[in-house]
């Protein structure tokens, strides 16, 4: 009896939590709700942990646990099955672990909500964890897709959690629709796989001995390029890459813990998970790899530039998330799969930490999110400040915190692939350091710029909030040790070793020109020094910020308005579709088709009215007509002989 037999409990428990909290939302007390909500996740976490230890044993082979025939129609033969291997078990830990901390945090953060809404919140959150677990556990693309859409749905429900606010509702809708655009790509990829390979299960596709894709040796075969591009379109939507990224900043309308869990730590990394899962397919289509790398890099720099000028604490973090996701895709695109997954892990820790810290700040400031009206909070909120500071260092990439290791691995991979990628990527990393320290300085240093009343109420948050912060801060600080690069200590990269079975086939195919240790040292030192300098510069620049509000001009204004991308989308996509639909409705439907149909009716009416005149009521005319008719019949009869 191994823990893997119990794997179904991992997603099932959150589902049970969702059902209980959802059904009994009017009767459960808030305490009961949060105990159920957090408890199920904790149980899932414990099972995931045992599963993880089992997987971590030497010589573990991926196991598929099949439950029942899901769809069995014609070409579609799909089982409802879970796959347990290194990649999924790692994600299980991140999801349930970070998820549990955020649940605990939420029980305090959301405490002011009315009881049924509080239960609704936890129900949604549990449902989200369920879907996310389904996503990473699925043994084929279809089950993954179920989770994929499920997390999108939960994201929708949670962004629009305060449903009275129309603007939040719009943000939720936008998130769902943008995700659906990506989902269409994912779906088409699934159809294509069913068509080309007759299966969507990972084993059937990627197994080294009998997998359909493993047996393909041709590089850049059109099928694989097509499928991988379509899958990447799906990833673009879910993981907020150019051009489908605009929903993520708007998604900050949801409660802050939601932003931490869904829009930073877990859901948005689903795209990276999917590509890491299909790594062989990508390795075999270098064209797609280049596309992924370029889009990832572009997103990383683009989003970072927007983050420079944002004043909403959550918006800065949101753009930062988009930017970090870009780095992960860069990693995937240059073949540094381990680095990308590593960054997913460290990012989950420090970004969740930053969001939760931001939540703690917002809580203390009574809903104020504008960093220009904060300042000097370090004196009032020691724990929040210290943990936020650690998160900041980690994301900026200052050694020896976690972000340094993971980002460095991606950048090294980029350098090995193409030095231009490295230079642009490093530029993005400097931007990251700059906006994070700007955020830190504006929030925690300098003089308090809020109202008297806010100052009076400033307080450290309760322990349900600070304990998760501390745990995450520790993780953000030390998680880098899971992936110490080769050139510092040989054979100490635990993650690389752990994930080796997943990426083995790809690694064999990628012809890395290995960087010499000397080059790596140079790169690392250069980037670390530059990042450190930028951080100090940003700190210096904004620690003395007084709150002067000179309106932005020129390029700054463009950045502040997010490069006007939303406006651009409205102008070239949304509005034309809307006007076109109105045109269809007014002209084609009403006047065109309906007009034609009604025209036929009117025509019949008109003709009848004309013919009616023959019926003039004169008996004589009728008889004359009759006689004429008879005569005509006679003539016809005679001449037709």
């Amino acid at each position: 009896m191994s823990a893997i037999q119990l794997i179904y409990l991992v997603p099932l428990l959150p589902l049970v939590g969702f059902l209980i909290n959802g059904m009994a939302r009017n009767t459960l007390s808030k305490t009961a709700t949060s105990v159920i909500g957090c408890g199920v996740i904790l149980l899932s976490f414990i099972i995931s942990l045992t599963v993880f230890f089992q997987v971590n044993k030497e010589g573990f082979t991926p196991q598929v646990v099949s439950y029942f025939d899901f769809i069995n129609a014609g070409k579609i033969q799909v089982h409802f099955a879970f796959q347990v291997d290194q990649l999924s078990s790692l994600f299980l830990l991140i999801i349930t672990g970070v998820g549990f901390l955020i649940h605990v945090y939420s029980s305090s953060y959301m405490h002011e909500e009315e009881s049924p809404h509080f239960a609704r919140y936890f129900a949604y959150l549990n449902l989200f964890v369920f879907s996310m677990l389904l996503l990473v556990l699925g043994a084929n693309y279809l089950i993954m897709f179920i989770g994929w859409e499920g997390v999108g749905l939960c994201s929708y429900l949670l962004i629009g959690y305060w449903f009275k606010n129309v603007e939040y509702g719009n943000a939720a809708k936008k998130a769902f629709i943008m995700n659906r655009i990506g989902d269409l790509g994912f779906l088409l990829a699934i159809f294509w796989m069913l068509q080309a390979f007759g299966s969507v299960s990972f084993l059937d596709l990627f197994n080294p001995s009998f997998g359909a894709i493993s047996s393909i040796s041709a590089i850049n075969s059109p099928t694989l390029v097509g499928i991988s591009i379509l899958l990447f379109v799906g990833a673009m939507g879910k993981s907020a890459q150019i051009p489908l990224y605009t929903w993520l900043p708007d998604a900050m309308a949801g409660p802050t813990p939601v932003s931490a869990l869904i829009h930073a730590a877990t859901m948005v990394t689903a795209g990276i998970y999917m590509i890491a899962r299909s790594n062989l397919m990508y390795t075999l289509s270098p064209i797609t790899m280049t596309v992924v790398a370029i889009i990832g890099l572009a997103t990383a720099v683009f989003a970072a530039s927007i983050a420079l000028k944002q004043n909403d604490i959550k918006k800065v973090l949101a753009y930062s998330t988009v930017s970090q996701l870009g780095y992960m895709f860069l990693g995937l695109g240059v073949g540094a799969y381990t680095g990308a997954v590593f960054h997913v892990m460290t990012h989950a820790f420090f970004k969740a930490l930053l969001f939760l810290g931001a939540g703690s700040v917002i809580h203390a400031m009574h809903g104020e999110q504008d960093i220009r009206k904060m300042g000097g909070l370090s004196k009032h909120m020691r724990i929040t400040y210290l943990t936020f500071f650690i998160g900041c260092i980690a994301i900026a990439g200052i050694p020896p915190f976690s972000g340094f290791f993971s980002k460095d691995e991606i950048l090294a991979g980029a350098f090995a692939n193409n030095p231009v990628f490295y230079v642009i990527g490093l530029g993005g990393a400097l931007l990251t350091a700059f906006y994070m320290f700007r955020l830190l300085s504006l929030t925690f240093f300098g003089k308090f710029r809020g109202t008297e009343e806010q100052l009076h109420h400033l307080h450290e948050s309760p322990s349900a909030i600070t304990i998760p912060l501390i745990i995450l801060a520790v993780l953000a600080a030390v998680a880098g040790l899971f992936g110490i690069p080769e050139f510092i200590i040989p054979n100490a990269h635990w993650l690389d070793h752990f994930l080796d079975p997943v990426f083995a086939q790809s690694k064999a195919l990628i012809s890395h020109h290995e960087l010499s240790h000397g080059t790596e040292w140079t790169l690392t030192v250069v980037s670390s020094v530059l990042i450190l300098l930028t951080s100090i510069w940003a700190y210096k620049k904004y620690a003395a910020y007084k709150g002067e509000a000179a309106p932005e001009t020129g390029f700054g204004k463009v950045l502040q308005n997010k490069w006007y991308v939303d406006e651009l989308y409205d102008a070239i996509i949304v509005n034309p579709i809307k006007s076109f639909s109105i045109f269809l409705n007014r002209v084609v439907e009403r006047s065109g088709i309906d007009g034609l149909v009604n025209g036929v009716g009117r025509g019949v009416n008109y003709t009848s009215r004309q013919i009616r005149l023959l019926q003039n009521g004169q008996a004589g005319t009728y008889i004359l007509m009759m006689v004429l008719g008879i005569i005509v019949l006679f003539i016809v009869q005679i001449f037709s002989r």
């Binding site: 029942f68 025939d69 899901f70 769809i71 069995n72 129609a73 014609g74 070409k75 579609i76 049924p116 279809l142 897709f145 179920i146 859409e149 499920g150 749905l153 929708y156 629009g160 449903f163 009275k164 129309v166 509702g169 719009n170 939720a172 809708k173 769902f176 629709i177 659906r180 655009i181 989902d183 269409l184 779906l187 088409l188 699934i190 159809f191 294509w192 069913l194 068509q195 579709i577 809307k578 076109f580 639909s581 109105i582 269809l584 409705n585 084609v588 439907e589 088709i593 309906d594 149909v597 009716g601």
Partner: protein, 497 residues
């Protein structure tokens, strides 16, 4: 001929008998109760029949033929195959739900209303069980006529106009079909008792000349396309749905629309094998265009009923497109989706009806904030709406997934273009949810009270269907299996005649 009464007969005559009885009763309460009992009895029979669905074992339970018009070669032959079982089950399960959900609605002359409803149920059953062309045509019209009266007597303000349009549209097209039926009948080979035969087997074995196939195919398809309705023959639908009484709208969009799809599967694909292959691209193209067209229109409607109507056109467009792709995956998807869409759209109408009854309005711009007052209704609606946009683990996903796979197998580009409607459907559905349930309440929506127990019950049953069939669709797929193989044996590239 069996010595016992077969399932199709029971399903057919029970509503007829109860319908006729209802006409004679004057007490409104008794009428409602009897109608509900009748529909529940029918449901019971239908559920029982599902246990005997295997035609290789229980053929005599499911098929029967009576001497009817012997000398012209027509017999009163009714039978159930997998598809028939599923659609009769849909019909049987819909009526109790409809009656229960609209139980509190008061009608003028309820005996006539419910009597006609049951007669239309009988007509629908007849269409789905007929295995003789003349019987099929007979029931095809029989299903139409009660609906015509229901709409024109109990409908909204512009009911006469809308019903007239509906009637002319469907009647003209079905008359054309009658011409086609007779023409094919004259080509059939002689049987023991008559020179020609109306039975479905002889129709399937007729060899029709290519030049005749084309026009015959067109007039047959026209009849079914109007009923479905397929773009551009759809304009009767939003008007009729808007004007018809809620219960009738549910019957119309839930079941009657499926008559068109069913007709194509039973009477077009196996008979006109060459024309189907010749016209497939045109019809699929038109259907796909229709899907996008209807989705676009749904986005700009302001009336709840019209949104649901256009969304229904979009969904049926996918079914129509996939049928002509003629492959196993797609056809299975179409059949499953016929049931699932029927159930889901009825649920949508129930919610729309509740909203209209409570607030008196259907305009999106005037609604809002209902979730604050009836959270339960909001939950139901969100689930049903999500099923309508085919979210995974809901029933519609299974059908749409299989259909899209089938369409992709036929031509990836069609599937990709049709896929855009997945996005558009999310746009209008979420917009509808938001405008109706979220946001702030106003004077109209403040007065909304809780839903009744019967409504809750029917919605819960539908939601149960949504999830059960969404997670475990295997029984449905199994049910349709033989029909799919039979149709494909007679039609498509591998047809043997």
């Amino acid at each position: 001929m069996g010595t016992y009464i077969t399932f199709p007969e029971l399903l057919l005559w029970l509503p007829v008998i109860f319908g006729c009885i209802l006409f004679t009763i004057n007490d409104a309460k008794t009428v409602k109760r009897l109608a509900l009992i009748s529909s529940l009895l029918t449901l019971g029979i239908s559920i029982t029949s599902l246990f005997f669905a295997d035609n290789s074992k229980y053929f005599l339970y499911n098929n029967v033929s009576y001497v009817w018009l012997q000398y012209i070669g027509s017999s009163f032959a009714v039978g159930l195959d997998g598809l028939g079982h599923m659609l009769t089950f849909l019909t049987a399960v819909s009526f109790p739900l409809i009656f229960a959900a609209t139980y509190n609605t008061e009608y003028k002359r309820p005996n006539v209303f419910y009597g006609l409803m049951l007669l239309s149920q009988a007509g629908l059953m007849g269409v789905f069980v007929a295995i003789d062309a003349l019987v099929f045509y007979f029931f095809w019209e029989l299903a139409l006529i009660p609906v015509y009266f229901l709409c024109s007597k109990w409908g909204g303000e512009k009911r006469i106009q809308a019903t007239f349009k509906f009637f002319i549209y469907t009647f003209v097209s079905s008359l054309l079909m009658l011409v086609g039926i007779i023409y094919i009948y004259l080509q059939t080979s002689p049987t023991a008792t008559a020179e020609h035969s109306f039975s479905v087997q002889s129709f399937y074995s007729v060899v029709i000349a290519a030049k005749d196939q084309t026009w015959l195919f067109i007039i047959f398809f026209l009849a079914f396309a109007v009923k479905m309705p397929m773009f551009p023959f759809h304009t009767w639908q939003p008007d009729t749905y808007e004007q018809a009484p809620a219960a009738t709208t549910m019957v119309l969009s839930g079941i009657m629309v499926k008559m068109g799809v069913f007709g194509v599967i039973r009477w077009i694909l196996p008979i006109f094998d060459e024309s189907v292959l010749r016209f497939d691209n045109i019809i699929i193209g038109l259907s796909v265009a229709g899907m996008l067209y209807a989705s676009c229109l749904a986005m700009v409607q302001n009336d709840l009923k019209r949104i649901v109507a256009y969304s229904s056109i979009a969904h049926v467009g996918l079914m129509c497109a996939t049928m002509f792709a003629l492959n196993n995956t797609g056809l299975t998807g179409v059949m499953i989706q016929m049931f699932n869409h029927g159930i889901n759209v009825i649920a949508l109408w129930i919610v729309v009806d509740i909203i209209e009854k409570h607030t008196g309005i259907r305009k999106l711009s005037e609604l809002g904030g209902l979730a604050q007052h009836t959270p339960l209704l909001a939950i139901f609606f969100v689930i049903i709406a999500l099923a309508n946009i085919a979210l995974p683990l809901t029933n519609a996903f299974i059908g749409e997934f299989a259909m899209f796979t089938g369409l992709f197998e036929f031509n990836p580009w069609f599937a990709a273009i049709a896929g855009i409607s997945i996005i558009l459907s999310a746009v209008y559905t979420l917009n509808m949810i938001q405008k109706v349930f979220f946001g702030n309440d106003n004077i109209y929506t403040k007065v909304v009270s809780q839903v009744t127990f019967k409504q809750k019950l029917s919605l819960s049953i539908i939601v149960a269907f949504i999830f059960v069939l969404g997670v475990y669709p295997k029984p449905m797929i199994k049910l349709t299996n033989t029909t799919v193989t039979n149709v494909l044996k007679l039609s498509g590239p591998m047809a043997d005649k």
